[in-house]
């Protein structure tokens, strides 16, 4: 009962945060709304007994990445977004289509499939997100993928330098 209650509290918080991010006209406010989304999602993970993932979510997304976002926004010295003009019908059509696709997906999950799948039991969830377990899985099952993620990060770093460095030689 308490779990369901908490789920709805955090779900509403994250959806409100996402909407706020889309609507707010100042980039800084949008970034702060985004922090709320990240925190609410982290709390959702906690209610699912995935403590490690919840904490990492706060550290990495709400902490590091959003702070970087804010730094970049402030360095760019952006003006507020321009005010909304007339109704752009292409955007309206796009919005309707987007909602239609979302409705289809939700229908798949709820109507056709009956109900939302059972959450794993608390013990299972704790075992699956336990830090030693994750560490072993990363270095055995996913050892190769981990290396390729390293290549991905290296390539992204080099790419950023190639594209952004002043007078690249």
């Amino acid at each position: 009962m308490l779990e369901t209650f908490l789920f709805f509290v955090f779900a509403v918080l994250s959806v409100v945060g996402a909407l706020g991010m889309l609507i707010s006209r100042s980039p800084v406010a949008a970034a702060l709304w985004m922090v709320q989304v990240m925190l609410a999602i982290a709390c959702l993970y906690l209610t699912l007994n995935a403590a490690f993932i919840g904490v990492v979510q706060v550290l990495v997304y709400a902490g590091a990445i959003m702070v970087l976002f804010l730094f970049v926004i402030m360095l760019l010295n952006l003006e507020d977004m321009p005010s909304v003009g007339g109704i752009d019908w292409r955007k309206v059509v796009a919005g309707v289509l987007g909602v239609a696709v979302l409705a289809q997906l939700l229908a798949l999950v709820v109507v056709r499939f009956g109900a939302i799948p059972d959450a794993p039991s608390a013990e299972e969830a704790v075992a699956a997100t336990d830090v030693p377990y994750l560490g072993v899985a990363l270095l055995t099952e996913h050892a190769f993928t981990l290396q390729i993620v390293g290549v991905l990060l290296l390539a992204a770093t080099i790419g950023a330098v190639v594209l952004a460095k002043k007078r690249f030689v």
């Binding site: 289809q104 997906l105 798949l108 999950v109 056709r112 499939f113 799948p117 072993v136 270095l139 055995t140 099952e141 996913h142 050892a143 190769f144 993928t145 290396q147 390729i148 993620v149 290549v151 991905l152 290296l154 390539a155 992204a156 080099i158 790419g159 330098v161 190639v162 594209l163 690249f168 030689v169």
Partner: protein, 492 residues
């Protein structure tokens, strides 16, 4: 617990070799900026990986608890990717020197992109698939925007990045739904997982989203909008790289998903309908719009959309012949398109990566540069699908598979679409050989010396197309052996 690591590392050795050489290139570049030995090092690494993969062509195995397939079909696809990368590295050196962007980093990024592509083509689970796809894409975004002084290049890189990120979202949602439906990330356990949970609805939704992600990467209609702009703005030889190797890798991964991860009745049912409709629309739209193009690079971009349609026809068949035919087609397509973009790169003069060069500027270039003229002829005839070149065999294989699977209408559409394509492919040849040189603008008529490496690569590509067209037997047999009914079960 860690005993398996040594044996499994040996199975993915070619990928690790390419990654290590990429890091070596970056280190070399750090100490000797843009050293001329960098392309040699990159090329040597690619050749080494190619040879290593060659040993595993008939030795399919799994590594890392099924996360990665090694050998067999994965080796075949990886060899195609490596061939495309090798051709592009060699052709890029004189081209990038000419446009003043011959950085060591370019070669490192090509190598890292190749690592991503090979991972993608060898993926045995949704995680590996995604990591491979992203590694490839990130490198390609950067390579597209390499000439960052140019507005056109920046526009195409940004477009590619934003749309690519958007399609990645679809791909990830698909992965999440598939995992929710089956409880596993491994392709080999998906069918069993689905049988236990019976969450068919979610599974189908996941497959649909995953297909959108794939169809975007192979630029099938209606997810093709980015292709012409991106291909036009990117450096020409690198356009050749991304239009061939990345497509080969994405198609190879799609084949593996269709053959190994999805239940048979779904592949023969909804998926077949979807893929055949997409294939038909892609072939028609790609070829018809290509007719109206005056910029050769843009024309080849639409032609590459059309070729994705032909390959999808083979996948729609859903049989071992179809999958094998698609793999063979990818090989032929890689060789001919790397060559065609190589020729265009050599004939480029507008200092905007060929973005404003129209077809008339090629007038009479066949006589000025006979090697370019003749090899371009071979590539264009192969792209059209004339015998005895490899393009013909590829088309024959995918369409024959479609007919065998009861999709005769699809094969008819495909053949009619290729007839249309003959017009715009051969128009390039007409301009190159039959129009007087005076039709071309002054800047296009400056004489230039062709680099020896370019001559060698283009001649080898043409020769390979001829050999594959005349004696394709062994290659076809290998490609089709990977996905016949017995091999799929054994490969698990």
């Amino acid at each position: 617990m860690y005993d398996f690591l040594l044996a499994d590392t040996a199975r993915v050795l070619p990928i690790l070799v390419v990654a290590a050489v990429g890091i070596a290139v970056i280190l070399l570049d750090a100490f000797r900026n843009d050293s001329p030995s960098i392309p040699w090092l990159a090329g040597a690494g690619l050749v080494a990986a190619f040879v290593l993969e060659g040993f595993k062509l008939y030795d399919p195995q799994v590594a890392f608890f099924g996360q990665v397939y090694s050998g067999g079909a994965a080796a075949f696809a990886n060899m195609v990717v490596l061939l495309g990368a090798l051709g592009s590295v060699v052709l890029s050196v004189p081209y990038l020197k000419r446009i003043g962007h011959n950085y060591g980093e370019v070669h490192a990024l090509i190598l890292f992109a190749t690592v991503g592509m090979m991972t993608l083509a060898s993926a045995g689970s949704l995680i590996t698939l995604f990591v491979g796809l992203e590694t490839m894409s990130v490198c390609l975004y950067v390579l597209t925007g390499l000439v960052r002084e140019e507005k056109g290049a920046n526009e195409s890189a940004l477009k590619y990045f934003l749309l690519g990120a958007f399609s990645t979202g679809f791909f990830l949602y698909g992965i999440a739904l598939l995992y929710g439906a089956t409880g596993t990330m491994l392709f080999s356990e998906m069918v069993e997982g689905l049988a236990v949970t019976e969450r068919t609805g979610i599974f189908v939704g996941g497959v649909a989203l995953l297909l959108i992600g794939f169809l975007f990467k192979v630029s099938a209609v209606p997810f093709h909008m980015w292709t012409p702009d991106v291909y036009q703005g990117a450096p020409t030889t690198l356009t050749g790289f991304m239009s061939t190797a990345s497509k080969a890798a994405a198609f190879a991964a799609l084949v593996v998903v269709l053959a190994r991860a999805l239940p048979v009745d779904l592949v023969a049912g909804e998926v077949q309908i979807t893929l055949s409709v997409v294939a038909a629309v892609t072939m028609v739209v790609g070829n018809v719009i290509a007719l109206a193009q005056t910029n050769v690079k843009r024309m080849l971009a639409y032609s590459s959309i059309a070729h994705a349609g032909y390959i999808l026809a083979g996948l729609a068949a859903g049989t071992g012949e179809g999958y094998g035919g698609a793999l063979f087609y990818l090989l032929a397509y890689t060789v001919m398109n790397v060559g065609a973009f190589g020729v265009l790169a050599a004939l480029e003069w507008d200092k905007e990566q060929g973005a404003i060069q129209d077809i008339e500027s090629l007038a009479g270039s066949g006589y000025r540069q006979p090697i370019l003229g003749v090899t371009m002829g071979v590539f264009l005839f192969a792209l059209t699908g004339f015998p005895p070149l490899a393009g013909f065999i590829g088309k024959y294989l995918v369409f024959a598979a479609a007919v065998d699977a009861g999709l005769t209408w699809l094969a008819v559409v495909g053949v009619l679409a290729s007839v249309v394509s003959a017009y715009y492919y051969l128009r390039i040849l007409v301009v190159m050989w039959m129009k007087p040189e005076t039709d071309a603008p002054e800047a296009a008529r400056q004489p230039f010396a062709l680099a020896t490496s370019t001559t060698v690569v283009l001649s080898l590509c043409a020769l390979l197309l001829l050999i594959l067209g005349v004696m394709p037997g062994g290659v076809i047999e290998a490609a089709q052996s990977y996905f016949d009914a017995g091999a799929i079960v054994a490969g698990r």
